[in-house]
Amino acid sequence: MFILKLLSRNAFRHPLRTLLTIFGITVAILAFGLLQTVVSAWYAGVNASSSARLVSRNSISLVFTLPIAYQERIRRIEGVTAVSYANWFGGVYITEKNFFPSFAIEPKSYLELYPEFVLTSEEKRAFFLDRKGCVIGKKLADRFGWKIGDTIPLKGTIFPGTWEFVVRGIYNGAELSTDESQFFFQWQYLNESLKKTVPRRADQIGVYIVGIKNPQATAEVSTAVDSTFKNSLAETLTETEKAFQLSFVSMTEAIVVAIRVVSFVVIVIIMVVVANTMAMTARERIGEYAIFKAMGFQAHHIAGMVFGESLFISAVGGVLGILLTFPVAHKFSQIMGNFFPVFQVEQSTLFMDIFFCMIVGIVAGVFPTWRAVRIKIADGLRRVG
């Protein structure tokens, strides 16, 4: 108790210096937490992937399609429980800055394979029955103020023309990591239109989503799917949903690495700042440490005082930084919702915050502690005078 009292009073002996140091740590931990959350948000799609789903696409590139006829052949492969399909639509609502992901899907099988998109049975029925119907995520609905029954016009980029959809359902995510900013409509609507306008592009699928019985058997089922279409005009490349999502993230790997590096640089900078504060503190108090030693306090007592103060300052700054991370991340997600549909401060980020806080406190305390412990009493007392 006495030691805690001494630590806290010592820490605030120079209130301005200590407050500025604490502020620096708070900002550093906040910045680190936010940057790590940005990285997590980057991987949100990967993390939300199911291990019971595979994605099959054209082996040449995602740009190339697969025939609709593959659906039945995939369904017959052993270990496959369900098959659905989707096409990236890439529609634009009014202007391109209103970007959101839009997909043409086979409604029934798709929603069965993605139970994380939660809709009421009425909404599902209304969606299934309306060829021009669409379902949208809650965040997307909130973003544009869309309600059930609203008509939404999207300008096609891959599929030219203006396409009109009627909102038949607004889904909620079953998990925090579920993306609630997506737009789904019936593949049949797209296909029938293409048959009339560009028949050569009809009956083509962007990706097949394959539900499997045993998540441990992803390799076997993937190989079986790809073998089925080997030497055909459209060979498949089947991989886990996670691997499929990762292939998108890897395109922007350099940005992720840069963000990670910056987040760690922030920690190193604050470590140097706190170390400087502690070095000044220890230099000023060398005489006092000598007095403590003269009274019989030993090296471990002195080390406890210096380390304790360093850890105390780091802990106060760290706790404030962590507490501030939540409201700032919330605000950030509101502003950057278009880019990061899932922006949650993860538990692992908090653990890293705490870990680096402690590291900052310990590293910053090492040199001053070494100095304070080694001081000869007679030399230290001479400095007091």
Partner: protein, 234 residues
């Protein structure tokens, strides 16, 4: 009045002690073959010009510096043979320090400053409180226990420092220029207090001073010059 009669018990025995400091490549001798004894309950003043080695001698006796050669035996223990942690434990139990600049911890109250040495003992909080209150009562500062050093005068701060020095009931009090930073009235109070501690509680006091008026309060005055002990009064 001298206390150096043969019947008295020798508490401190300084035997052929030498000490030198390194200044660059040069070794500067400070003490050369000093030998003398201090009787239990003695009040000794060490005088001498600056650089004569009196503070060094005080530090050696107090166990906060080590001899180059010779030995210092205190109450049967050769303190030169103790390792650092044993020496720290020995100091906490046997030596009370009084410094010229009081050396109180500014963020602690008078009470907390006095309590500091007791934190190294196994005393309970209540027992510590009793000891601290007694020590502060001896130095007549019972009404200032919640004051911080900055709220006390120089004389009061030195009295808190004395309370801190005596709170563990040490055998020896070492005082390095205890009145050097005080006005005459405060200095007189401190010297009277030290004399009282010597007289009433039997503390052995070794005081380094430049001030002949302070030295007059001691039973014995030894002077050091150029590292040699050359005079004894009275």
């Amino acid at each position: 009045m001298s206390l150096t009669s043969a019947a008295q018990q020798v508490l401190i025995s300084v035997n052929a002690v030498s000490k030198a400091y390194q200044r660059g490549n040069q070794s500067v001798p400070v003490l050369e073959g000093i030998s003398f004894e201090i009787i239990k309950g003695e009040y000794l003043a060490l005088m001498g010009p600056s650089g004569s080695g009196k503070s060094t001698l005080l530090n050696l006796i107090a166990g906060i510096d080590t001899v180059d050669s010779g030995s210092i035996v205190i109450d049967g223990i050769d303190i030169a043979t103790l390792n650092e942690s044993d020496l720290a434990r020995w100091r906490s139990a046997h030596v009370g320090f009084i410094f010229q600049f009081y050396n109180l911890i500014p963020v602690l109250t008078a009470y907390e400053n006095v309590e500091l040495p007791l934190l190294l003992t196994s005393l309970s909080r209540q027992e510590r409180r009793k000891h601290v209150e007694t020590a502060l009562d001896i130095v007549s500062l019972s009404d200032r226990i919640e004051h911080y050093p900055s709220q006390l005068s120089g004389g009061q701060q030195q009295r808190v420092a004395i309370a801190r020095a005596i709170v563990t009931d040490p055998t020896i009090l070492v005082a390095d220029e205890p009145t050097g930073d005080l006005d005459r009235v405060s200095a007189e109070e401190i010297l009277s207090l030290m004399a009282r501690l010597n007289r009433e509680q039997g503390k052995t006091i070794i005081m380094v001073t430049h001030d002949p008026r302070a030295a007059e309060k001691a039973h014995i005055i030894r002077t050091l010059e150029k590292g040699l002990l050359n005079d004894v009064y009275p």
